[in-house]
């Protein structure tokens, strides 16, 4: 049915995908084997699509699937059979390929580049291959001007769309960088344990990255998911709102209407949706490691602001300040949001570590009127009080005035209450949820946000 070794490779591929948290059953694996049989091995890209169609169940899984597929069904074996590349010559040919937008040629050049500049060890490549080193030596990002000239010389000016050229070239350079990464990984896989590599060297989807351990690049990637996530949540909230209003009968108005039919309620009157949308208050710990989580959540809430009649956002470390306005302008510059809040709001007194008790007390005292019976309050933070008084009285006060109070904690549930965490005490007063990654946050927001 299939070439020898293919079944085995397929099994390993499925194993690696499962290790990344994908639920793939035997049924899907059988389908995948049938797809291989039906498609053959001659065209690698068709095989890729066929396996994706049979094994995957959702769009986000694709970004894990592709690099794993590249490891188990590699483009070839060994380096390109060309003369070792000369840097200047390679840059010249790369500019031409970028100018033409020739992705196939760019891929070949990526292979040459890794072969020529990516190897390290006593003899090049004896210890490994590095995409970082390759890109560092080749510096494709410095080709922008050259490529632009190249395109102009080729097509002349194409009028209006010309103003898009620089961004288009940047996107192509980005594609080339990814091709280099794929190629370096393929070369490494020839030297190391492929299964190990597929589990460790392939990044998990951004929505599963732990907020507390996300690096700078991962946070940037996460920020790019804010808008799509917000759009998805907005439709879900709208659906919940419609469901909530559907089918509930307004007894008073039904009876009133029945007066004309001699008191027999002929036409049930359905309750209309509350004319006022709910109000939201966010209290965000923006100190240290928690800041990645609260920045992301603030951006998400900002993107959803038209779902609410009013949104007010407060940030704290050990002092608390309103940052609603900073967030309004934050939409234009999401990367800068955290820095802007820390620069412009008064968040710390005479020391720099977080103090929930003081901050929450300040909220209850100064902004108590921000909370009323229509308000849902979200507190974001790890509830680590640095051994100071958690000030449960203030939290109780806020909870009494608000419609609901939820606490989203980016720490794993198992760590609540360890060390200086006051999570269990707070969780007795308000509903606390573990919220470690964007996936959990999305699910919680869709479920908990008032409609």
């Amino acid at each position: 049915m299939t070439a020898p070794g293919v079944a085995e490779r397929l099994t390993s591929l499925v194993g690696a995908l499962r290790a990344h948290g994908m639920r793939i059953g035997t049924g899907e694996t059988v389908d995948a084997a049938q797809a291989v049989a039906a498609l053959g091995l001659a065209d690698r890209e068709l095989l890729r699509e066929g396996l994706a169609a049979t094994l995957l169940h959702g769009t986000v899984q694709r970004q894990v699937f592709d690099p794993v597929f590249d490891l188990y069904f590699p483009r070839g074996v060994g380096g390109p059979e060309t003369e070792p590349a000369d840097r200047e010559d390679l840059r010249e040919r790369l500019s031409a390929a970028l100018a033409a937008g020739d992705v196939v040629m760019m891929g070949q050049l990526a292979a040459e580049a890794v072969d020529g500049f990516g190897g390290y060890g006593t003899s090049p490549g004896s210890e490994g291959w590095s995409s970082h080193q390759t890109l560092d030596r080749l510096r494709p990002q410095t080709l922008l001007a050259r490529v632009r000239e190249n395109v102009r010389a080729r097509n002349g000016s194409s009028g209006f769309a010309d103003r898009l050229l620089d961004d288009e070239i940047r996107r192509r350079i980005e594609t080339f960088r990814r091709q280099v990464a794929v190629e370096a990984r393929r070369r490494i896989a020839e030297q190391r344990d492929r299964d190990e590599l597929a589990r460790r060297a392939v990044a998990t989807t951004p929505d599963r990255v732990d907020f507390l351990y996300a690096g700078k690049l991962q946070l940037a990637e996460l920020r790019r998911t804010v808008q799509p996530l917000a759009r998805k949540l907005a439709t879900r909230l709208a659906a919940r709102r419609r469901r909530a209003s559907r089918g509930s009968i307004d007894l008073r108005r039904t009876l009133r209407g029945s007066l004309s039919t001699g008191g027999v309620p002929m036409k049930p009157v359905l309750r209309r949706r509350r004319p006022m949308r709910p109000e939201l208050v966010l209290l965000c710990d923006v100190s240290g490691s928690v800041s990645g989580f609260s920045d992301f959540t603030m951006l998400l809430v900002q993107a959803l602001h038209d779902q609410f009649s009013k949104v007010r956002v407060f940030a704290f470390v050990n002092r608390l300040d309103e940052v609603t306005r900073l967030l309004d302008h934050g939409a234009a510059d999401p990367e800068g949001l955290g820095a802007r809040i820390r620069a412009e709001a008064t968040l710390t007194g005479w020391h720099g570590s977080s103090d929930y008790g003081v901050a929450l007390g300040e909220f209850a005292e100064r902004y108590g009127d921000a909370v009323g019976p229509r308000t849902t309050v979200f507190v974001l933070g790890d509830a680590r009080t640095n051994m100071s008084d958690p000030n449960l009285t203030s939290v109780r006060q806020v909870a009494e005035r608000a419609r609901r109070v939820y606490w989203l904690n980016p720490e794993p549930h198992a760590q609540w209450g360890t060390g200086d965490s006051a999570a269990p005490e707070y969780a007795e007063l308000v509903e606390m949820h573990e919220c470690r990654n964007a996936r959990q946050l999305g699910a919680l927001v869709a479920r908990l946000l008032p409609v």
Binding site: Q34, A53, G58, T59, R163, L164, Q227
Partner: protein, 299 residues
């Protein structure tokens, strides 16, 4: 390419001989398939599995099902999902009005006889899911915008798509003699259940590559100048990279190209772009943002 002994007996004859065959024949009906689309359609046919197509609005999900129906010379049976769609809309329903008439016509017979009569074929209103599994003629069943239906409907779909049979208590079990080619579409406004996903082959259709989109525009708006079509696609591509509330889809690209043709524009210029941005973007703040990025003064 070998064709394995993959499908069970009750299935229809194979529609396609190869992935290239899929592309070529879909193209002949006016649908230009990416390699991913062609491969997945080919496999859906080979493996006899329903195809779940997910992706943003306006990328050709519905159109794909129509094109497959045309290629297969099959009848398109469409279940359009919406909030509140239920068994009586999706599967079948008894024609109560007609049953009442029949009863009150009151022939000389026992109630048992009447009952047998009014629960017969003649009084059955067949809805798309039932229609799709009855009869020997080739059919494509399109379950469109599945995510709009309530979760409960998924159970029903799962049942029908597992066995291709439906039980009507008064009539017995109806089993497909010929399996339809099934396409479900979803805009992902709600996560479909894992069980339903497992029944299906999964296909994500996103925005097409530049080259494919250019071909789509040229095909759908034949009078448009080739260079202008290229610029149109580039501008739309740039907008998709912007942080907008709703980025333009293929449907909007085609609309914009038609508008430009109707205006007699032969190149893109600041004025014509500014005057027609509304065709591409539906929100005023998106229009302003895009205008700023494209360096044209918005009105």
């Amino acid at each position: 390419m070998s064709s394995g002994p993959i499908r069970a007996e009750l299935e229809a004859p194979l529609l396609f001989t190869s992935v290239d065959d899929v592309s070529a024949r879909l193209a002949a009906t006016g649908y230009l398939a990416s390699p991913a689309v062609a491969t997945t359609v080919f496999l859906a046919d080979r493996l006899g599995k329903p195809l779940l197509v997910e992706g943003p609005a306006g990328v050709g999900k519905t159109e794909l099902a129509k094109a497959v129906a045309e290629v297969a010379d099959a009848r398109l049976v469409r279940l359009q999902c919406y909030e509140g769609v239920d068994e009586s809309r999706a599967l079948y329903e008894w024609n109560h009005a007609k049953q009442l008439l029949r009863i009150s016509a009151g022939r000389d017979e026992t109630w048992d006889e009447t009952r047998t009569d009014i629960f017969s074929e003649e009084f059955l209103l067949t809805r798309p899911l039932l229609t799709a599994i009855r009869g020997d003629d080739p059919k494509v069943l399109l379950i469109d915008e599945t995510d709009k239906a309530d979760v409960e409907v998924e159970g029903l779909l799962l049942e029908v798509l597992s066995d291709f049979q439906v039980t009507v208590p008064e009539l017995g079990t109806i089993t497909a003699t010929r399996r339809p080619f099934v396409v479900l579409t979803s805009n992902a406004s709600r996560e479909l259940s894992e069980a339903l996903r497992r029944r299906c082959l999964f296909l994500h259709i996103g925005f097409p590559e530049e080259e494919l989109e250019r071909r789509i525009v040229r095909l759908k708006v034949p009078g448009l100048d080739e260079a202008l079509a290229g610029s149109v696609v580039r501008v739309v591509g740039a907008m998709r990279a912007m942080d907008l509330r709703k980025v333009p889809s293929v449907a909007e690209t085609i609309d914009w190209a038609r508008t430009l043709l109707a205006l007699g524009a032969d190149t893109l210029g600041e004025t014509v772009v500014r005057d027609t941005l509304g065709v591409l973007l539906k929100h005023q703040d998106d229009v302003l943002k895009a205008a700023a990025k494209l360096d044209v003064d918005a009105v």
